[in-house]
Assembly symmetry: C2
DNA sequence: ATACCATACCTCGTGTGGCAAGGTATATGA
DNA sequence: TCATATACCTTGCCACACGAGGTATGGTAT
């Protein structure tokens, strides 16, 4: 995992967390591992970023949570609310727009 | 132009400015306009972001500048240094990695 | 018993960096 | 004379990623 460009990561945790949870409920630790495995280590969201993000998203009503005790360990499962789905759609749109914009500059030496 | 997502824009100005200037020298005001036209309004970097960014990049020796007086108005042309080219390569690589990572999550409901 | 690691949650302090809102000044056209 | 485009600039605020640390449990190896 060569990366670590904090600036480029801004806004990404919210987007990928919403996207993952839209598919199924997950708990924090699981989300962190999922991001690594699904992206094949292209992305990684540390716990110092993930947990505060989850709390912020819950307080903004994008997520709801429920605590479950499994094998003596506590897990907090998160799911996406209706508001969260709307937010996901918006973020996805913003991301694609941005991404296309960047690619249009990276991929075009004007050669004029 | 649809609205802005400040978080997702983080790191982008440095990348696109380096990319544009790698092609040819430009001055600040021109860069701002170019970003809009080249991306067809997908991206926009305001002057409150651009000028501080240019100064920061110059002090980090990624850019060099020269002032020229044209039609009574001053213009400060910026060009990319060798260090800047290295930085551009790095940022481009980081961006593509990140972008692929995000797409791999957005484009894959696990359905498992 | 005693390490040790994986699981599973958490917070705090620091630094980077986008952004709006302001400012200065010149040339041009109405 | 007034507005608009050009062309530069700074300040203050705030969002956010990150590393480094902390708590606690269960299983496994020594």
């Amino acid at each position: 995992m060569a990366d670590r460009n904090p600036a480029l990561m801004a806004g990404i945790p919210e987007l990928v967390v919403l996207s993952l949870l839209a598919d199924r409920e997950m708990y924090g630790y699981e989300i962190a591992r999922s991001i690594k495995t699904v992206t094949q280590d292209l992305l990684s969201v540390g716990e110092g970023v993930l947990y505060p993000a989850l709390h912020a998203m819950e307080s903004r009503r994008l997520l709801r949570s429920r605590s479950i005790r499994v094998d003596g360990r506590m897990r907090i499962y998160y799911g996406v609310t209706a508001r969260g789905k709307t937010r996901l759609a918006r973020l996805t749109s913003d991301w694609r727009r941005m991404s296309r914009g960047v690619e249009s500059i990276l991929g075009s030496p004007s050669h004029a």
